[in-house]
């Protein structure tokens, strides 16, 4: 029996050592440069352009529904106000998207944020995109996260992911993807809009998309981040409007369950004095208007969407 007791103690000790060792290895060695490169390049390009504008501007930000769906170049022409598309990837999550956007905002700017629904419903759980981006390009922000979030991110990296990452770092050169092969910052226009989105890819048309998951309506981490950002904007004289994303018009979105969710969302914004543009059903479009995912409008879809948002801006926005 004593041998078995000793064996069990050794298991506990070795397991603890493995936990600590992998935590440290993941923190110091894990990177995902190849897949995060286009995100980092896109953010840099967009931030540089935004910072170069001296007068007041209109900024659109969110995840890729805005990157693909809003043509800020057209908006600028129509409204005669410099306009930037800061959106890149919804997986960066509301808090980080807002953190990056704050860097380029100035007093008097107008910011419109049609966030993806899973950012409204985001409960603070970690996202793989955010983990990979932060550990590769923004460790400073990573260290500002609560310790539990940091640990969750670190330990979500499995040993084979770490090995894979090391192999890529040491044996494979990081290179930009070819246009059309993967997402690429080279296909952004000056304003930050994605331009490579002609037609609909087969995977959009042949997939059964499901509506985003909803449970009981509550003040999620996503909504808290929006609320805090709204206060920050007020304090800094920035005109902030939340809005709703463009996505595939699914039957579910017209059911009672989703109608109630949308009503709750709008009620939440009103209650917290957060201005909003349009309503969720304004930006639901047929599958054929999408390029390669349920949030990525194609060229035609984005033209329709942009026209609509211009109309909504003209109707709703009161410049302060």
């Amino acid at each position: 029996m004593r041998r078995y007791k000793k064996f069990l103690i050794q298991i506990v000790i070795v397991t603890l050592i493995i936990f600590i060792a992998f935590g440290l290895l993941n923190l110091s060695l894990y990177k995902s440069e190849q897949s995060m490169l286009w995100i980092n390049n896109s953010l840099r390009i967009k931030e540089n352009y935004a910072k170069s504008i001296n007068e007041n501007k209109i900024v659109f930000t969110a995840g890729s529904n805005v990157l693909f769906g809003i043509n800020t170049e057209t908006i600028q022409k129509e409204l005669k106000i410099p306009t930037v598309n800061m959106a890149v990837h919804a997986g960066l999550k509301a808090d980080y998207i807002i953190y990056r956007t704050k860097k380029i905002l100035k007093s008097g700017d107008l910011i419109i944020m049609p966030l993806e629904y899973h950012n409204f419903t985001w409960d603070g759980s970690f996202s793989e995109v955010k983990r990979d981006y932060l550990l590769t390009y923004d460790k400073d922000f990573f260290h500002t996260l609560p310790i539990l979030s940091q640990l969750k991110m670190l330990y979500s990296i499995t040993p084979n992911m770490l090995l894979n990452s090391l192999y890529k770092q040491y044996f494979k050169k990081v290179k930009k993807s070819k246009i059309g092969e993967n997402y690429n910052s080279d296909t952004l226009n000056k304003h930050g809009d994605e331009t490579y989105k002609k037609g609909s890819k087969n995977k959009v048309l042949t997939k059964n998309y499901k509506a985003f998951k909803i449970d009981k309506f509550y003040k999620t981490q996503g909504l808290k981040s929006i609320n805090q950002f709204a206060k920050w904007c007020k304090k800094n004289n920035i005109n902030f409007y939340i809005s709703f994303p463009n996505t595939i018009n699914l039957k579910d979105y017209h059911t009672e369950k989703y109608k109630i969710y949308f009503q709750n969302l709008i009620h939440y914004f009103k209650k917290n004095n957060i201005d909003f543009i349009g309503k969720p059903t304004d930006s639901l479009y047929p599958k054929e208007y999408f390029y390669d995912s349920n949030y990525h409008l194609n060229l035609y879809g984005s033209q329709i969407r942009t026209k609509k948002i211009i109309e909504l801006i003209k109707r709703t926005v009161k410049y302060k």
């Binding site: 029996m1 078995y4 069990l8 070795v14 397991t15 330990y155 979500s156 499901k210």
Partner: protein, 490 residues
């Protein structure tokens, strides 16, 4: 509470373990049993406390009837009464199960036949009802056969609710469990059993959260999300589910066996490398062994078994497997799956009688592919999904080969309309899907299963590293994936 959850592994399990043995150490045997029943009911209620009265009333009902059946009484009149009582109790159990599991299925079919519009009840299936109903039916029959000793309600409650096997088996007999709980030696912590239990639990956890949940992604995409599949995607989808189901359910069983061992209880083996089977009968001797045992003892043999001639054997086999199919779920796809297996067993029996033999590799290939194809019906939510996957598995009209082959094989496009591209894109797969499928085959064919491994378990450095590493890997994998066991739905 899931076995693969942090609250179970780091809170519920250690607390239950230490308090149970502490109470036993203080010689509070009844209190320790009571505590284990309470913990098991807490574990059960964690999902939804509204199901608690169902399991409690079912237990009470079956305990009272079982006790009456257990009383020895030789008079003819009472024997008749006992049989009536047994039939009444079995029917009551089946009615309860049927009400929750099959009412909506029945309504849907009535509506279909009569073109009616009776609203469905949308009843949620109480967790584990299929398992605790079968376990208690076996208790009633065993009591009728005087094969159970009399125990008090606390003992009976422990037999039904013991948390390692409550939710999805193994389905155990009263006579194989209760003597173990009664044994004095089993009331003391046994470090050998703890080491062995942790070893088996860790393997089960790894099988579930690392292997099964990886295959789950491709299976779900292929069955539920993709509207079209090419031939490779269809095979990858079906094989992914075949592996997912095995690693998920046998992983759960390993965890259950490992957990029970921590409490010095040995649960029966439930899986014995089923995909190594070389015929369908062999498969059912290796797959979900305790369910097969139940079906044989309480359905096949009472129907007449092998005793009433060849034709009756065939009809009995068919009936047993169709019942087995519908036990898994209320749907025609499950009935058809049961029919397929029943038919295969009948065919195998007839074939064996004729004395034909096949090469072992060919016998394995046919058996494995039959099982793989039959699982398509088992998994599909709708007939259309099953047809979609199966039709694509055997369609040569939609072949897509990987891009890297295009330079060498581009002549195929002109002659056979074979395309090149992301050949496994519709199920969100890639080269890793192929690697995992190969890995899956290696594991099921060339590796010892958990029970075989546990026989040769040694206290050495390799096992320390092995247990620690797979435990670490499983725990961190639970951060990203938190899925229920497939058999929780049945």
């Amino acid at each position: 509470m899931l076995f693969n959850s942090y609250e179970f592994i780091f809170a519920f399990l250690p607390v239950t373990f230490f308090i149970y043995f502490y109470l036993n150490h203080k010689r509070l045997t009844e209190a320790s049993k009571g505590f284990l029943v309470f913990s098991s009911l807490f574990f059960y209620s964690w999902w939804n406390i509204t199901y608690l009265p169902i399991i409690l009333s079912s237990m009470l009902f079956n305990y009272v009837i079982g006790n009456s059946l257990n009383k020895e009484d030789g008079t003819k009149h009472n024997k008749f009464s006992k049989k009536s009582l047994l039939i009444f109790a079995i029917v009551s159990n089946i009615v309860l199960l049927g009400y929750f599991k099959y009412t909506d299925f029945l309504i849907e079919n009535i509506n279909l036949i009569s073109d009616g519009n009776i609203p469905t009840l949308d009843l949620a299936l109480p967790l584990a009802i299929s398992f605790f109903t079968f376990q208690q039916i076996s208790y009633l029959v065993d009591s009728y056969r005087q094969e159970t000793k009399e125990y008090d309600f606390l003992n009976y409650a422990l037999f039904v609710t013991f948390f390692p096997q409550l939710i999805a088996g193994p389905i155990v007999h009263h006579k194989e469990m209760m003597p173990q709980f009664a044994k004095t030696r089993n009331k003391v912590k046994n470090y050998k059993n703890i080491a062995m239990g942790l070893f088996i639990f860790s393997i089960g956890l790894f099988k579930k959260v690392v292997i099964a949940d990886t295959f789950a992604v491709w299976a779900t995409q292929g069955f539920d999300i993709a509207t079209t599949l090419n031939i490779f995607e269809a095979w990858a989808t079906s094989l992914s589910y075949t592996f997912q189901l095995y690693f998920d359910f046998s992983g759960y069983t390993d965890m259950a066996i490992g957990l029970a061992l921590l409490f010095n209880i040995k649960l029966p083996i439930n899986f014995n490398s089923p995909y190594k089977a070389t015929d369908i009968q062999d498969f059912w001797r290796r797959w979900h062994i305790t369910l097969s045992r139940f079906l044989k003892d309480y359905i096949y043999i009472p129907l007449g078994g092998n005793r009433k001639g060849e034709f009756r054997i065939y009809t009995n086999l068919m009936a047993t497997f169709i019942i087995g199919g519908i036990w898994h779920g209320a749907g025609w796809t499950f009935v058809f799956w049961g029919f397929l297996h029943g038919f295969a067993l009948v065919f195998h029996r007839a074939w064996s009688k004729l004395g034909f033999k096949l090469w072992t590799w060919l016998a394995w290939l046919i058996t494995f592919n039959f099982i793989n194809i039959a699982w398509v019906f088992f998994r599909a939510k709708e007939w259309n999904d099953a047809v979609k996957v199966l039709a694509s598995m055997f369609s040569l009209n939609n072949i897509v080969l990987p891009n890297f082959l295009s330079s060498k094989l581009n002549f195929l496009t002109a002659h056979f309309n074979i395309k090149f591209g992301n050949f496994i894109d519709h199920i969100h797969g890639g080269i890793d899907t192929i690697i995992w499928l190969i890995f899956g085959f290696i594991l099921i064919l060339f590796y010892k299963n958990t029970m075989e491994k546990s026989i040769f378990f040694k206290l050495n450095f390799f096992n320390i590293i092995f247990i620690s590493f797979i435990f670490y890997y499983s725990i961190i994998s639970m951060i990203t994936v938190k899925s229920e066991f497939l058999y929780f739905n049945f």
